[in-house]
């Protein structure tokens, strides 16, 4: 890995003189980095908007610990346990991805297949879990809360369960709006990541990259997959912990 720097000239005059990549990486990988930069700007924008509104309406903002308490096959309430599990799944799938990349560096086709398979499974579990979280957030608690909202065209003041884009049982409606938008946008990224991983996985099985002499495609899809994990680390902190 550190062989990177040593086998290529790093003298400023030489590397910018043409005939070589000044950054020592291929075109595809650099474009992936640029794409991830711009995608990160989008997520930063969304999370900053969330942070701004949260501080502005701090007195009517829900505590995430009260909202996300459900756990599968268990009727009681455990705060944040399921989302901690989801986070762990995503980090674990990031690890299996980096192991697939490492296997690719050794030209170990079988290793790449195994680790990419686990990565795809992890991603699928995460997307499923997110759908499950949404379901419980939309349906809300048994007791609900009194809210003033429009129902069948008229304003009513009654008990409301769960949350949608206009009414939120747990607190300010903006919390629900941001939740749906940010976790939805992130979930869509995970879904795309799983699809891309499956495409690359098929390529690995067919031996496309082995013939090429390197597994850089796995590395590139890996970059995207780690980025998805990276974004979740921030979403987890700002949405669930704070």
């Amino acid at each position: 890995m550190s062989a990177h720097a040593s086998t290529q000239p790093t003298d400023v005059k030489t590397i910018w003189g043409g005939g070589t990549s000044p950054f020592g990486i291929s075109y595809g990988k650099m474009m992936m980095w640029f794409f991830l930069m711009s995608d990160a700007f989008t997520f930063s924008g969304l999370l900053t908007a969330y942070g701004f509104m949260r501080h502005k309406y701090h007195d009517v903002w829900p505590v995430a610990g009260d909202v996300f308490t459900h756990f599968p096959f268990y009727n009681g309430h455990i705060e944040l346990a399921y989302v901690a599990f989801m986070t762990f799944i995503l980090i674990a799938s990031s690890v299996t991805m980096v192991l697939a990349v490492e296997a690719g560096h050794r030209m170990d086709k079988k290793g790449v297949i195994i680790w990419m398979f686990f990565t795809i499974i992890g991603g699928a579990i995460f997307v499923g879990s997110q759908a499950w979280e949404w379901y419980h957030f939309i349906h809300g608690t048994e007791h609900g809360a009194v809210r003033e909202f429009i129902k069948d065209g008229v304003w009513v003041k009654e008990v409301f369960h769960g949350a949608n884009l206009r009414v939120n049982e747990y607190g300010h409606p903006l919390f629900a709006d941001f939740f749906f938008f940010i976790t939805g946008f992130h979930g869509f990224h995970v879904f795309s990541g799983v699809c891309i991983n499956i495409i690359i996985f098929i390529g690995v099985i067919n031996g496309t990259y082995h013939k090429r002499g390197h597994y850089e495609m796995v590395e590139k899809t890996g970059l995207y997959w780690h980025f998805v994990d990276l974004v979740w680390v921030f979403v987890f902190t700002f949405f669930y912990l704070l």
Binding site: A5, I25, F41, G51, R54, V63, R106, D229
Partner: protein, 137 residues
Amino acid sequence: MERDDIYEYSLDTHHGEEEGKKVRKKIYQVLGILSAITIFEVGMGMKFSRVESMQETLKYLFILLTLVKAAYIVLVFMHLGDERKNLRWIVLATYIVLIGYLLFICLTEAVYAGEHRAWDPVVEAFKSIVGGGSAHH
């Protein structure tokens, strides 16, 4: 025909069985660190998220720990730590500047906006409804 306009750099990252063991050990170490931080964060959140006096400390602690986690993911998992210095800093410097600015918006500007909030029907509705806002302190 061999093309001379494609430069292969991925071959430089190839390594043998011996080197692979070291790389894998590093990966598992980072997995341990990330898991430990996450468990610690959830624990702290469960214990102190309703303690008013702890809010500020908790906020900065979580932001700091999140940045630590992010650094491990970017530098080790995304191999940015192994890339050339110029690429590394193009990515990192941009975000270090940006994150500083975003934190300023979230923490300073937003609190000011909250203090000078105009009359807001949504917020007023919350305050006037008995049993409303079941989830805040």
